[in-house]
């Protein structure tokens, strides 16, 4: 297995073709990160492109003090923020219905799981973006605490406390939705 940090150093040194490997390795997760953050498919694709353009442009500033993923998600977050700053009138919409359509599970026990999945997603969508972000980065983008704390610029203990907080809010939202559905 290759080391992403190594690859990024090679890109930094001028071996631009190595960026392709980093792209292939991360494109799906990055794309889904944008989707989970509430962006449409088309916008998420643009944001992936924009993020990698910046990865290429900023390659000289990659220091290796964090992992490549952490650095990349930092750029990704700024890319989204920049986009919404420019397009203030756009509403963040969560394509819950679309997401359900892509789920391949259908009958029986799987139906229950699908239901639960949908409610999880809905509760995720209902909490604040700051809380959602911490959960998404950890649970879905699989960044570890070190990476997330450097990304969000907060110390480890603060991060843990924010995580607990976010999950508790998520749980409350979930229970509320389950109550409404039953």
């Amino acid at each position: 297995m290759f080391n992403e940090k190594e690859l990024m150093f090679q890109v930094k040194a001028g071996q631009l073709d190595k960026l392709a490997t980093l792209f292939e390795n991360n494109k799906l997760q990055l794309f889904n990160y944008f989707i989970r953050s509430g962006n449409s498919r088309a916008l998420s694709e643009d944001l992936v492109q924009e993020t990698f353009m910046r990865v290429l442009a900023y390659r000289t500033s990659f220091s290796g003090s964090s992992t490549f993923k952490s650095w990349m998600y930092g750029i990704a977050r700024n890319t989204v923020a920049e986009h919404y700053r420019k397009n203030k009138n756009q509403v963040l919409n969560c394509d819950i219905d679309d997401e359900e359509l892509t789920n391949e599970q259908t009958l029986g026990e799987e139906f229950e799981s699908k239901q639960q999945n949908a409610i999880f997603n809905q509760s995720l969508a209902s909490i604040s973006p700051e809380d959602r972000e911490i959960i998404v980065l950890s649970r879905f983008q699989q960044l570890n605490y070190q990476e997330i704390s450097s990304l969000l610029d907060c110390n480890l203990n603060t991060l843990k406390s924010r995580m607990r907080n976010a999950l508790s809010k998520l749980q409350m939202s979930y229970q509320k939705l389950v109550g409404e559905n039953s």
């Binding site: 001028g14 494109k27 290429l56 900023y58 599970q105």
Partner: protein, 287 residues
């Protein structure tokens, strides 16, 4: 306090965090503790379910996303290749001396970059470092604005680089793309403007030359280029290019150049159609 630690531990173990330091002994004590704390139990159960819940199949992006990325990468690679060839060719020029003044070995490594002029390279590099440092700090709200405006500048810089690379391509359509990119940058880079005017003077495609003239209309001021554009206009063989250059200078040029141009009308240096055009323009506009 203890509850919080337990939750932390749970999250960490689910996330397979390497900083997880819980040992097996605690889990027994933990189980006993949990029996008395139903609320905590529920919380832990919820977290477990959420974490282990089957992630629905990932949404797959379209092929277009891949295509766009590879096109960008290919563009970057060909410019890098071209620039390094240029660099080799210019080894003995005076520019090389300027480049050698940069002490950092890092700069040396990325010398074969987009822009032909090492001094301009350094300027862009400095900008990237500044912006990069801001990014890595992941700033708080006060620094956000600085980072974002830095980002904007960097994007403009990247577009400039793209424009300059496209303008060097063999195909006229790609050069037209380069002109379109240059328009997006507000032509703030003097090297880009220089390249455009150079291309205007010698490009074999009338379409490209006309597109450049349109692009130059977006310049805040022509500065020293005005004289050059004037001379190009007077000497131009191509009717469409000549008339467009005159239109450019009449619409956006200084008062002096406008006077100079209308003078030429009398001196019969311009094609009759162009003379006719200038006369019509002069009558319609008033200063």
């Amino acid at each position: 306090m203890k509850n919080q630690q337990i939750i932390d531990w749970k999250i960490a173990s689910l996330a397979n965090d390497n900083s997880n330091e819980q040992s097996e002994e605690l889990s027994e004590a933990l189980q006993n503790y949990l029996k008395e704390n139903t609320q905590l139990q529920e919380e832990l159960l919820f977290i477990e379910q959420f974490w282990t819940n089957d992630v629905k199949p990932l949404v797959v992006p379209s092929d277009k996303m891949d295509a766009n990325f590879y096109q960008m990468l290919s563009s970057a690679q060909s410019t890098q290749q071209y620039s390094s060839q240029q660099e080799t060719a210019q080894q003995h020029s005076s520019h090389h001396i300027a480049a050698q003044e940069h002490p950092l070995s890092l700069l040396e490594k990325i010398k074969s970059w987009f822009m032909p002029n090492p001094i301009a390279q350094f300027a862009t590099l400095a900008l990237v470092f500044v912006v990069g440092l801001n990014l890595n700090k992941t700033p708080n709200n006060d620094d956000n604005n600085l980072a974002y405006s830095g980002l904007q500048q960097e994007i403009s810089s990247l577009t400039t680089v793209l424009a300059m690379s496209m303008l060097q391509k063999d195909s006229a359509s790609e050069r037209l793309s380069g002109v379109a990119y240059s328009r997006q940058t507000d032509l703030s880079n003097p090297l880009l403007v220089e390249q455009l005017i150079e291309l205007l003077a010698r490009d074999k495609s009338t379409s490209v030359r006309l597109a450049i003239i349109n692009s130059l209309g977006h310049l805040k001021s022509f500065g020293s280029s005005e004289q050059r554009l004037f001379i190009l206009a007077i000497q131009e063989e191509n009717l469409l290019v000549q008339i467009e250059l005159c239109r450019l200078l009449l619409n956006y040029g200084s008062v002096d150049i406008k006077k100079l141009l209308t003078k030429q009308v009398n001196q019969q240096h311009l094609k009759p159609e162009v003379r006719e055009f200038i006369q019509a323009q002069s009558m319609a506009s008033y200063i």
